[in-house]
């Protein structure tokens, strides 16, 4: 019924019908603003807001409710002054989880929540695509009578920030999540921050920490991505999206032998085997004989490439070559959130490198190195960190940015939120600075030296039951104990 788009910095909200018996339009062509309200039989039936989406929540709610309107022009201008706090309680704020304004208000007034973070944790609003978070924050502020300056706590229960905990880990030489828990009492009460602590300990200790799997999300305990029915997906590493007939044969054989329900080409140029039982994972990895693609982890995932100069008649740079180099240098490094990359061999940009977390684009005379792109819930064009002359320089700048992100982003903060928070100029200064850059690369080198392919745990599990539940024999190969949605559950 309504859609919100954010393409190339243009805001657009459309709801309901575009044509009625009465249309009120406000335009300002020089500012790229167009706002229209569509009315039929005296009721609001549609809205288009381009370039200026103020009041979109109220107008979309009015379209949904079919509100009566006397003066549509006045309704348009009133809406531009109204915020989410002026909406009726029945207005849906979070479209992913179906949370209305009234539920958010009640979480504060009746539920005892004091901060947007608590309200989001309790109601789940803002935890899907995240695009409604500004509205949630505004509503909580209205309900709570203002907001205190709440820092981004890594552990909200103990009110500890990432910086505080990192300093403690360094000063006291803490090596594991349980040592941090003993020292700071983090990760024990609600458990939500355990994966963030696990990442922080590993990053501060340059992967020389003591790994404790119970602090990791299930994906990082079994190195596969949990699916809605409790099965897992398996994505083997294919550097730069390049494969061989031999690898394809092995993948096909595994898919046949284990009756894999779905084989799918992913958006990151990989092959995904979906619907795999947990206890089959070690055998499948063994038979594939390929390293983990880390498609399940907050880690460097894929470097998508175009064919570059090898075959393409337009190619200016060796996209496959640089992409494979990037992927091998970064493989196995965990990151605050997933990192998707791309390398395009010319500005036609077939690898979509300008909407990746880290992307390189070959241009005449060199390479553009970009970061902070997105093509998910939001679309954001990546910022140019630098334009350099050689492939080696491009690899160096991209790698330096990766380490800067690994060390300074909040857990679950994507590059496209990280760069605007830090500021592009600061990012450039540190990443391109001779000494700061060299120090970042040295720390990445140390962290990378301790990386091991997690799929080798097929022969060296951390526990005899790493991959099995209690109905199955320890070595796997038992009857499947899959779970699915309960009968009658609403999807």
């Amino acid at each position: 019924m309504s859609a919100t788009l954010k393409v190339a910095g243009i805001d657009l909200v459309c709801a309901g019908e575009a044509v009625g018996d009465h249309e009120a339009v406000v335009t300002d062509a020089s500012s790229g603003v167009y706002r229209k309200l569509t009315v039929r039989d005296g009721r609001i039936i549609g809205a288009v807001l381009l370039g200026d989406t103020r009041g979109s929540e109220a107008l979309v709610a009015a379209v949904r409710a079919g509100d009566l309107v006397d003066d549509p022009l006045k309704a348009l201008s009133d809406a531009s002054l109204a915020g989410p706090a002026d909406l009726p309680d029945s207005a849906q704020i979070c479209d992913c989880n179906g949370v209305c304004k009234g539920v958010l208000m009640a979480a504060v007034t009746d539920g005892g929540c004091a901060t947007p973070r608590e309200v989001m944790a309790v109601t789940r609003a803002g935890t899907g695509c995240g695009s409604c978070r500004p509205a949630v924050i505004e509503i909580v502020a209205a309900a709570a009578g203002g907001l205190s300056d709440e820092p981004a706590y890594l552990c909200p229960c103990r009110k500890q920030t990432r910086e505080q905990l990192a300093a403690r880990i360094r000063e006291d030489g803490l090596q594991s999540v349980s040592e941090v828990a003993a020292a700071c009492a983090t990760g024990r009460e609600c458990g939500v921050c355990k994966p963030a602590l696990a990442y922080l300990v590993s990053e501060v200790c340059a992967n020389l920490h003591q790994e404790e799997r119970d602090a990791r999300f299930i994906n990082d305990r079994v190195h596969a991505n949990i699916q809605r029915d409790g099965t897992f997906s398996v994505v083997p590493r294919m550097y730069g999206g390049v494969t061989t007939p031999d690898e394809l044969r092995r993948i096909a054989d595994v898919a046949d032998r284990y009756e894999v329900p779905l084989v799918k080409v992913t958006g990151g140029q990989r092959l995904d085997l979906l619907g795999v039982r947990k206890q089959d994972l070690p055998d499948i990895w063994r038979e594939l004989g390929m390293p983990s693609g880390h498609a399940y982890a907050k880690a460097v995932r894929t470097v998508k490439t175009c064919v570059g100069t090898d075959f393409c008649r337009f190619g200016l740079g060796d996209a496959i070559g640089l992409g494979i180099e990037m992927e091998k240098l970064w493989e196995g490094l965990h990151t605050p959130h997933k990192v998707k990359s791309g390398v395009s061999g010319c500005p036609r940009n077939c690898a979509e490198a300008t909407v990746k977390d880290i992307g390189c684009v070959a241009v005449e005379g060199g390479w553009q190195v970009r970061a902070g792109g997105a093509a998910g819930g939001n679309v954001r064009e990546a910022d140019i960190i630098a334009t350099v002359q050689t492939r080696a320089e491009a690899l160096r700048v991209a790698t330096t940015f990766l380490q800067y992100y690994r060390e300074n982003a909040e857990y679950k903060e994507r590059t496209y939120d990280f760069i605007p928070r830090i500021g592009l100029e600061t990012v450039r200064e540190i990443v391109l600075g001779e000494q700061t850059g060299a120090a970042l690369r040295e720390r990445l080198r140390i962290a990378k030296a301790a990386v091991r392919d997690p799929w080798l745990e097929r022969d060296d599990p951390y526990h005899p039951r790493q991959f099995s539940d209690l109905d199955e024999p320890e070595e796997g190969a038992g009857e499947p104990a899959l779970v699915g949605p309960p009968a009658g559950a609403e999807l």
Binding site: E189, V192, L470
Partner: protein
């Protein structure tokens, strides 16, 4: 009391699923105690045994609903799950199943 598993069968700080008397149960070994809940999240069927376990709660791996390990009560939103008593005798773990929970129509 149903015999479930050996203490060493469940890694510290994790859960594992098991079928006991025809019911799917998740057994948890938190850093402080043993717990057992119905294995399946009432939201959309997530496997609670694969969730993140802390001292007193488990988080469903699919959509992060949280449940009290001792009571099965939902700590975020929605319905709770049945909780079962656990007893550890030596190296063996036993579970006393609670009455199946009636689901509201």
């Amino acid at each position: 009391m149903n015999y479930a598993c050996l203490v060493d069968d469940v890694p510290l700080g994790e859960g594992r699923a098991i079928t006991l008397a025809g019911r799917q149960i998740a057994i948890f070994r938190s850093s402080t105690a043993w717990y057992a809940l119905d294995a399946i999240c009432p939201h959309l069927g997530g496997p609670l045994a694969d969730g993140i376990v802390c001292d007193r709660a488990v988080i469903c791996p699919l959509h992060e609903r949280r449940f009290d390990l001792a009571t099965g009560e939902a700590l975020s939103v929605g319905e709770g799950v049945a909780a079962h008593a656990v007893e550890v005798r030596g190296d063996r773990v036993y579970v006393a199943l609670a009455e199946p929970q009636r689901r509201a129509a």
